[in-house]
């Protein structure tokens, strides 16, 4: 066990974690951030996506101890304030990009990572950026238009 400080969603948490603890476990079980899901635990599905210093990464393939001195963002940390929604979240609602919702947090964060880097991506660029996130419900069509719509709003 080690005592560490973890920066999640802009807040610093002092935690005791196991050496072998994965970030997904710390987020869901110690910090109660249930928005980050998992579906395969081997880095294939993207449901465990979080932002690490702004880039979308897989929390099931990261040791919590390796996440020290990095800024972690989960879906809970995306909205600008309580009750408000980030434009990407709103776009997902407006474009019909949400069906069962299990892939949604990961998709939204992957989209955020892309739009921070590439403010005006084309549909193929968006698809590429989301290639690590599986969705079985939507067929991706409206997810991509949601990201395009969010990009326009964020301009």
């Amino acid at each position: 066990m080690k005592t560490i400080s973890l920066n999640v969603n802009g807040k610093v948490y002092d935690l005791q974690v196991r050496d072998s603890e994965l970030l997904i476990e710390t987020l869901r079980e110690r910090l109660g951030f249930k928005g980050t899901k998992y579906s395969c635990l081997e880095g294939e599905c993207g449901a465990c996506t979080v932002l690490v210093d702004g880039k979308n990464m897989l929390s099931c393939l990261m040791l919590t101890l390796d996440a020290q001195d990095r800024k972690i963002t989960t879906i809970e940390g995306l909205a600008p304030s309580q009750g408000e929604l980030h434009p990407i979240q709103q776009a997902f609602i407006d474009e019909g990009a949400v069906q069962c919702g299990f892939c949604t947090p990961g998709m939204i964060l992957a989209a955020k990572s892309l739009l921070d880097k590439t403010p005006e991506p084309g549909p193929e660029e968006i698809a590429r950026a989301l290639d690590g996130n599986l969705c079985r419900c939507t067929g991706y069509v409206r997810i991509i238009s949601a990201v395009e719509s969010a990009a326009r709003k964020l301009k």
Partner: protein, 277 residues
């Protein structure tokens, strides 16, 4: 919880410290990006006592020019290789290959060193690095720095140490990378072909063709290279090329499908370099 069996975590600041930990531990494991190592821990019986992360070692990061070559630190992420202006300029086919590995989040996390150290010869990078005549640098368990060929490193599972850098020498202006997967782009390839050459006085020089059949180690197509060396790019013959390729790969039992892909790729290479020159 817990998903992984317990171990002791170490985050050394220097190579010296890392090597000491490596030597001291009865069952050590090095951790780079985590995309390979952590999955291994989840899926196999491997249970290291000590996991030594390399992320704090400054020496392993960064991409620089060194004596004309592009020197890539082992802990450089695949995404960093893709977006590096030095790599894009000096070895564009390496940037292209890295951009096709797995998925976006994996490319943010995985490192070039971790990819090579996995000794997976069937993935994208080995064939490309061999076609580029890349050399590896590592620190052996004793502390001495060594350099060597990628092909030798891939076959050598015994050498213990820490990969430090990948050196990509200056390349010619022509390069092509084709890769084919069974199902979708994010798969590891089922076949890949790398071509690299320079142009001098309208003829090809330093021709290197490497094939990743995924059924055997990546192989340089020496007969094909000899055939094309010194030739004019617009005067390459597909029939000849196919024959040479088959001779080069005679020891590998290739299926119809892979042979079709290779034929198609050779045609495409000939077409592409014919246009470029």
């Amino acid at each position: 919880m817990p998903i992984l069996k317990d171990f002791k975590y170490h985050a050394p600041d220097s190579l010296k410290e890392a090597l000491q930990l490596l030597q001291k531990s009865p069952k050590p494991m090095l951790l780079a990006g985590g995309t390979f190592a952590l999955n291994t821990l989840k899926k196999t019986a491997a249970s290291p006592e000590d996991v030594i992360t390399l992320r704090k070692i400054a020496e392993l990061k960064g991409i620089r020019r060194e004596k004309g070559a592009v020197a890539i630190g082992a802990m450089t992420s695949l995404d960093e290789v893709v977006s590096s202006p030095l790599v894009q300029e000096g070895a564009p086919v390496l940037a292209e290959a890295c951009s096709k590995v797995a998925t976006t989040p994996i490319r943010y996390m995985a490192t070039i060193g971790g990819n090579i150290a996995s000794r997976f010869y069937w993935v994208d990078l080995p064939a490309v690095l061999m076609a580029l005549d890349a050399r590896l640098e590592w620190i052996a368990a004793g502390g001495s720095r060594k350099q060597g060929e990628l092909a030798d490193f891939l076959k050598d599972h015994k050498t213990k140490g820490i990969l430090t850098r990948v050196f990509v020498p200056p390349q010619g202006s022509l390069s092509v990378y084709f890769r084919h997967t069974q199902t979708m782009d994010v798969d590891v390839p089922v076949l890949a072909l790398v071509f690299s050459a320079g142009l001098q006085a309208q003829t090809l020089k330093d021709v290197r063709v490497c094939v990743n059949t995924t059924m055997a180690f990546p192989q340089r197509l020496r007969k094909l290279e000899a055939l094309w060396q010194g030739r004019k790019p617009g005067l390459l013959n597909a029939e000849e090329a196919r024959l040479a390729m088959r001779q080069d790969l005679s020891t590998v039992k290739l299926d119809e499908y892979r042979l079709s892909l290779l034929d198609a790729d050779l045609d495409s290479v000939i077409e592409k370099i014919g246009k470029a020159a």
